[in-house]
Amino acid sequence: MPAGTLYRGREGMWSWVAHRVTGVLIFFFLFAHVLDTALVRVSPESYDTVIQTYKTPLVNLMEYGLVAAILFHALNGLRVVAVDFWSKGPKYQKQMLWTVVGVWVVLMAGAFYPILQHTLVDWFGK
């Protein structure tokens, strides 16, 4: 059966999609994260082994992605709160979204080196 087209929502809809996707992503990560941290109760060695994998380039990259997700979810979450509690929020939601995206880009650029320095040093040397 030929499907209908995708609904062409605007900023509001896509930001919600992103918020939802990042939220679910973070939830699953958090789940895993608590489990791995729990290894500190088992033995320092097992914890350190797991943490070692956090330091491999691939996971390090994923970490950057996770930060990106959390940061977007957090900033957009603040926008949602503003829409809810500030009477002019709904009017300025688009401007606020573009602000969120702007701040997000700046912060992610700023975090690029600090987070990935381990991998970068690994790959390209000091």
Binding site: G4, R10, P90
Partner: protein, 257 residues
């Protein structure tokens, strides 16, 4: 006051008055569903020669009257006040009679489909009963206690202004059927019902706000809204739907209205 003011002809006025019409060829790609012929929906292309300043509804009429009489849609007023012809044009909910062809990029095929989230019965016709049921469920009428006054109830212009925006609703369902929550959960009251609850909750003459708020304080009520703003974008009457929903939410939290 009879000084001539019409010397200053703007370009827009000239354009509106210009007799010579530039006709263009447009393709309309319509998602047809006629179960009496075929149980599945199909996309069908229609080519038309039209004045781009005409409405999409004019194009549908032209198709129905000149090419294919089986094309089915609802329409009545043809100028955006009866709410009959909400449909998805190029992926967005609009009224066909309030959308000019030139505003929806006639260079490419213009897609037209039924609104989402309501049962499609034939072509662009959907079952509106669930939509009206949600409307009825919020008690959309003035509730007052005691005897009616002999003259009108007084209401200041400011109090009248408070709910002006939501009185404009024509129950076209463009908002509700643009809501991603509603697509997946038809039990959600949907923005249109909330707009109409808002219209009474914030009417200074009304005394039923508590009850209406209680109805919307539910699993399928206002808290279901995820502020995606599709409704506000879709509303052909320019109602700030999301804002109205937020006001209802805040009224529920603070119990002030």
């Amino acid at each position: 006051m009879s000084t001539p003011t019409v010397e200053k002809h703007s370009a827009a006025l000239d354009a509106a008055e210009s007799g010579g019409v530039q006709l263009i060829t447009v393709t309309f790609r319509i998602r047809r569903f006629n179960p009496e012929e075929h149980p599945d929906p199909v996309w069908v292309d229609y080519q038309l020669t039209m004045d781009p300043k005409e409405r999409v509804l004019d194009a549908l009429n032209k198709i129905k009257w000149e090419q294919d009489g089986t094309l089915t849609y609802r329409r009545s007023c043809a100028h955006g006040i009866c709410g009959s012809d909400a449909m998805r044009i190029n992926g967005r909910n609009r009224l066909a009679c309030k959308t000019l062809i030139k505003d929806v990029n006639p260079e490419k095929p213009i897609t037209i489909e039924a609104i989402k989230g309501l049962t499609v019965l034939k072509d662009l016709v959907v079952d509106m009963d669930p939509f009206f049921q949600a409307y009825k469920d919020v008690m959309p009428f003035l509730i007052t206690k005691g005897n009616d006054p002999t003259r009108e109830r007084l209401q200041s212009a400011e109090d009248r202004e408070r709910f002006d925006d939501t009185t404009k609703c024509i129950l076209c369902a463009a908002c509700t059927s643009s809501c991603p929550v509603f697509w997946n959960d038809g039990q959600y009251f949907g923005p249109a019902a909330i707009v109409n609850a808002h219209r009474f909750i914030f009417d200074s003459r009304d005394e039923g706000a508590e009850q209406r708020l209680e109805i919307l304080n539910d699993r399928e009520g206002v808290w279901r809204c995820r502020t995606t703003f599709n409704c506000s974008e879709a509303c052909p009457r320019g109602i700030e739907v999301t804002k109205a929903i937020q006001e209802v939410k805040r009224a529920l939290v603070t119990r002030r209205f």
